[in-house]
Symmetry: C2
Subunit: 510 residues, 2 copies
Amino acid sequence: MKRLSLIDAGFLLAEKRETPMHVAGLHLFTLPQGANEQTFLHRLADGLRSADSFQSPFGERLKVGRLGLLGPAYWETDDSLDLDYHIRHSALPKPGRYRELFALVSRLHSTLLDRNRPLWEMHLIEGLQNRQFAVYSKFHHAAIDGVRSIHLTQSMYSTNPRERIHYSPLSMEAAERYRAALARQLPGREPLGERELRNVAEVLKERFDSGLHLYGALRRIAGAWLGKEGPLAVPWHDVPRSAINTSVDGARRFVAQSWPFARIRAVGKALDGTFNDAVLAMCSGALRLYLQSMGELPRESLKAMVPISLRREGDLDSSNAVGATSTDLATNIRDPIKRFKAIQASMKAGKELFREMSPGEAQLLMELLQLPSLLLMPLGLTSRFPPYSTVISNVPGPRQQLYWNGARLEGIYPASIVFDGFALNLTLVTCGDKVDFGITACRRTLPQVQRLIDHMEAALVELEEATGLSQPKGKKRPRKKTTAGRKKAATGSRKATPAKKKKAKAAKKG
Amino acid sequence: MKRLSLIDAGFLLAEKRETPMHVAGLHLFTLPQGANEQTFLHRLADGLRSADSFQSPFGERLKVGRLGLLGPAYWETDDSLDLDYHIRHSALPKPGRYRELFALVSRLHSTLLDRNRPLWEMHLIEGLQNRQFAVYSKFHHAAIDGVRSIHLTQSMYSTNPRERIHYSPLSMEAAERYRAALARQLPGREPLGERELRNVAEVLKERFDSGLHLYGALRRIAGAWLGKEGPLAVPWHDVPRSAINTSVDGARRFVAQSWPFARIRAVGKALDGTFNDAVLAMCSGALRLYLQSMGELPRESLKAMVPISLRREGDLDSSNAVGATSTDLATNIRDPIKRFKAIQASMKAGKELFREMSPGEAQLLMELLQLPSLLLMPLGLTSRFPPYSTVISNVPGPRQQLYWNGARLEGIYPASIVFDGFALNLTLVTCGDKVDFGITACRRTLPQVQRLIDHMEAALVELEEATGLSQPKGKKRPRKKTTAGRKKAATGSRKATPAKKKKAKAAKKG
């Protein structure tokens, strides 16, 4: 039995009907040539069901004692696993566009996982156009974070289009093969074994002598609260109220879209920044346009929670090894270049906090910073005191083209968590030569959230034009034609950008 | 604003993730000749969405004060109704048998309704074989009981296969037309108007002088606890432990099947009993076979909660006007005739309690008897002290053949509530010349519940043979061939008995 860390358990404590704490990936595939959809999907399901020992977290359910989640919690093996419950076969109503797919995913993402069973569901979805099919996989955040979910994905699929696996992707065998492959890629490092997760008390004891760095970091955070730390943004400080920051209910709306990795990366390079800076600037510009269109752009800038991975390379076992910085999105700055620079400075200041810390220290700081918001949620206070305006999460996805029994993986669209108090989550996965964005929103608070897709394209074009990467087409409304063309699409009828058919190279993009 | 009765609110108070308190109907239709499924279903959905004022409960959401459900609760008009949320379009994976339909309904029935919105969902389901489609409609039991749901059904559909309605079935207009039609059928009676629901204190005051009947009834119940009231069964008294009586989790399994009304009615007549007595005997026989096959038949008899309608004719507005008797299922009696007689006697004794009471008195008694079990549920005590073994609910359905814009209604299969402590619910709707059974069970506790369908047929055959209505085919296992034939079917691949194609007569069967 593995013990849950305090952060893991926090996601269970914070969960309510209105704020499920699960994360999901919508995987889009193209059927292999000549394959019959019905037969192919039934074989995939049979393959999944053939497991008898399971890689974590598929076979583990939650076990708590008399104190419930206030006492220690563990993952224990579920000996009566009902695979027909977890693996589900769904279909889209005709005509089977992305619109119908997003509607189904919005619904699936709105329901709570059953805490009496291992905390996951997998839905094979047939009936998509263009010989595609989809797999929506849902996990509780107590069991998995973004980086672990990508490890899991890579352990389940193959880089070889001709490979037909004879073991279940859920099985221990899949995990062991993946661990062995990673060990070959990282020679000289021992692949980490199963490791008992520790509670905060043990962590505190172990890191007792590392208090100096931590003390410095906490001083700087206190300074930021007093306005003395320049671009360092911290939770709860100066978070403006906007349409996004209200209490939420249980229904979600999910939309997704892909952009070429190279386009966003080029903007970052042109401004001496990272890919991540460019993503934040693109999202910031989109949020500005979105709030402006509703006449609700606040005078103070929005603040984003930007998760950062604290996972050591090769750690496949920790459920959550993720921290977060609070980043100023500079939505109150009109000029796109100045906005980019402000975001970049804020992101830098946030990372600075962690610069001299060990991963252990960083994780401890994160727990100290994050726990208050997780623990405030059950009290219903985060909607009155939102610690952030939104979440923007960048998850590095697989760099190689993946296949599942010959079906080509075209995209990994993440569906994530909406919190009481910030009703919007923008998560992206870099996948081959594309960036797959998934937007998850509270259905009631942000009913027109699909428009954000248009605004993201417009914000990217604005950055491209400001940096001279492309020529403005008009003055008032740049690239009018393109934007108009995308408009129709964003209501749901558009095809998400498919991955190019040429073999994706394992290019170095990090 | 209408106030919720204590029973209505009790269903909200008793609700947990593991025990959702919604009820549903699975309506099976045949497409009109020549209609294209996709176009037809889209038109139905558009028609539903065209409403701007709603008949109850479609437009009403729950409103509670500071005390939550412990204080007074009301239904208030939801001015921001999001019809796209409530009306959903789904599809079945191929090959689109009843097996796939039941799997989807099992899942849809496992998720909680969103309490921030009116407490209903409607799913149009395409992809069934044989030019059929299905509609799964789900309502919170706080808003609706079985009889009210049939009134609602009748107000939404038409008896004329050629009628194409120009108003939404959800609209106030549909309700008003139905009210007017009922008034024509019941001349001399004023159709009841909207009526403020009263809380128990008011009811108590109003009925203060009717205490005598009530006092007598409570005395008899006390007597039954002491074993002095013959066949009168009361909640909690002598309820044996069986596989059905354990705590439940949130996942459901739903299966359905139809039987000819005439077959069951004939058994009742042959034994000087009612149709309802025959239904109970059929279910009792099936439960006996089911528990025997698992080697778990308890020595004491199972007790069923049998809801009885306390609704005055023409009352379309009360959310819940339903009581319950506790009926001895005599599962410890081997002889089918003796078993029938014991059930009949117990049912008679249960009804006797109410014989001299006015509907108001009966309802008050019911509230006194039912509230303890509803209120015990949040404490998790009903699984340790189950008040009943199972629920068997008989809902009189429409007698006339109904159509929705020309699509013929082939069956109304009810999906109902599983309680903590009794993991099985057998509900039936008499629909034209058929009886449509819906079996709802906790997925974990009763994994092989589809076998009950076979056992119900076997139990009916046993009664038919015992009464001489049919000849036994063999000695050890009567009608072996038929039973074997049905066996394959019960795993899910069987077609539910479709209604006969000839025009169903509005025969008097009550």
